[in-house]
């Protein structure tokens, strides 16, 4: 009796979801290259990452426009509406992740060819970056599989990133009196901060997973009410 209808609309929405979430792969790849830039002090690769951010921005614009068109033409409701709302939200997260990579890649050349690098600090930042990439891939999987528990687990993964960020801060405080070394450490702190924000963006995506599934939006962690 009940015949399935609006098949093209359903397919289009699925394709847009895949395309939007594909932006997370682009962001993860950008972060991977950014970590190489940090590790190798690779100024040319930094330029490539900056130029390549256009692809992430392009994906944002393309999927965003298509979602607006669906809103205008298909009057989505219920799960479809929540999905589109969540997609609009996470597209912004993806775009921000790309921008954070660009921020780091713009900073690295400023530290000079042979900066007075601290190996431990570099190690911490690379570990943070790898952890952030894990967050990105897990946020994507949680969204694809509509898995609220997996989404919620992003908070645990993000705590690791936050702790490493604090360790970076501690290292920078003890970096010594040499002005060049202090300047380098300040730059690295900014890089660590950018990676920390990428982790937060992944947690935001997790919150959208919970919204799509449950219909209720709750921040997993409320920075302004940490004990609430």
């Amino acid at each position: 009796m009940a015949e399935e209808t609006r098949i093209h609309y359903g397919e289009e929405l699925e394709q847009l979801e895949a395309s939007g979430l594909g932006g997370l792969d682009l962001a993860s790849a950008a972060l991977g290259r950014t970590l190489e830039v940090v590790e190798q002090q690779d100024v040319e690769l930094a330029q490539l990452v900056i130029a390549d951010d256009d692809r992430i921005d392009g994906r944002y614009l393309e999927v965003h426009q298509a979602l607006i068109t669906l809103l205008a033409t298909q009057s989505p409701v219920a799960t479809d509406l929540r999905l589109i709302s969540a997609m609009l939200h996470i597209l912004k997260n993806v775009e921000r992740m790309g921008d954070q990579c660009v921020n780091i890649c713009k900073m690295i050349p400023l530290t000079g060819n042979e900066p007075p690098a601290d190996e431990e600090m570099i190690r911490l930042i690379l570990t943070m970056g790898k952890q952030a990439r894990t967050l990105i891939s897990q946020s994507k999987r949680a969204f694809e599989e509509r898995d609220v528990e997996m989404a919620r687990d992003l908070v645990r993964l993000d705590d690791v990133v936050d702790n490493l960020n604090r360790e970076c801060f501690g290292l920078a405080l003890e970096i010594g009196d040499d002005p060049d070394r202090r300047e380098w450490a300040m730059t690295m702190l900014l890089a660590a901060r950018a990676i920390e924000r990428i982790g937060d963006n992944a947690v935001d995506i997790g919150e959208q997973v919970a919204f799509v599934v449950t219909g209720l939006f709750r921040e997993f962690e409320d920075a302004s009410h940490p004990d609430g």
Binding site: E4, T5, R6, V77, A78, L81, A151, A210, V213, L216
Partner: protein, 297 residues
């Protein structure tokens, strides 16, 4: 695919389970905050069913209709929306072989009780139909018809003016009250029918797809009018236009067609009845979800 299966888990229980496992406090009352301190009930239906010549058209409908709400009945063709609507002012009495079962209270009184005069009931519970049906009379006489029959002949001019104003037709009609109602546009004729309905001072207005024969501008006017009218009246509307239900109603009931084992007989059944916002953003039943999102018809 695991992904498709997980996407299909749209029932309220699975959502709440998922949320609970994830430590998210689900408040089922979130969409029903307005429900607290709600106004009185106009209709209380318990196990209402209708049969035409012994064949069931709707079965076991239980729902309350609240005062000053717009309550929308939605569902595919043949689900019994109009049948259910006609129960609410005993219009089914006019159909030979129609039987209504179950309990249907109107302001706490049995609407089908032996002491109830259906004509009196319809005075309190007016109806507006799909196709505008003005009488072949002047605009004025269309509105004055009801009050005259009821013997309310004093201040008739005022009654007509108030009814036309109430139906947002006064400005367009005041200079042509003696003109034939058929000279009005479709949208104006429908508002005239609404004016005719409110001229007898009902407390509830039933609307059976009141905009399906109208263009979008006229539809918009009727929808605006419904928002105004509900301050004074309770409205129950049957509509095929889901966006209309979403725009104008406070609560929405979704009915669907059920078939017997041999698929010989079909009847309507209430699937979900809740705040309209809930029905259109986060329905509890996957069948409601599929219907409101247009995935099955």
């Amino acid at each position: 695919m695991a992904r498709d299966e997980s996407k299909a888990r749209t029932g309220r229980q699975s959502r709440e389970d998922a949320a609970a496992r994830a430590g998210i406090a689900v408040r089922p009352d979130q969409f029903q905050q307005h429900a607290a301190g709600r106004r009185e009930k106009v209709f209380e239906l318990k196990g209402v069913g209708v049969r035409y010549g012994g064949v069931p058209a709707v079965k076991e409908i239980s729902m309350d209709v609240h005062r000053n709400d717009v309550t929308a009945l939605i569902g595919p063709s043949g689900c019994g929306k109009s049948t259910l609507l006609r129960c609410l002012n005993r219009m089914n009495d006019l159909i030979p072989g129609a039987e209504v079962e179950g309990s249907l209270l109107y302001h706490g009184e049995d609407l089908y009780g032996s002491k109830v005069d259906p004509v009196q009931a319809r005075k309190m519970i007016g109806m507006v139909f799909q196709k505008p049906n003005p009488f072949p009379k002047s605009i004025y006489d269309n509105i004055a018809f009801g009050p005259r029959i009821l013997g309310r002949k004093e201040n008739l001019d005022e009654t007509v003016e108030n009814a036309l104003k109430g139906a947002a037709l006064w400005d367009e009609a005041k200079d042509r009250l003696d003109a034939n109602a058929f000279g009005l546009s479709g949208g104006q004729q429908q508002r005239l029918c609404i004016a005719r309905c409110i001229a007898v001072q009902p407390d509830t207005i039933l609307m059976d797809e009141p905009c399906s024969a109208l263009d979008p501008i006229s539809t918009g006017k009727i929808e605006d009018l419904m928002i105004e009218l509900k301050k004074q009246f309770s409205i129950v509307i049957v509509t095929h236009n889901m966006q209309q239900a979403a725009r104008v109603s406070d609560r929405t009931a979704f009915l669907m067609v059920e078939l017997d084992a041999d698929e010989d007989n079909r009847w309507g059944r209430l699937v979900e009845y809740d705040e309209t916002e809930k029905i259109f953003t986060n329905p509890a039943d996957s069948r409601t979800e599929d219907y409101v999102s247009g995935k099955v018809g």
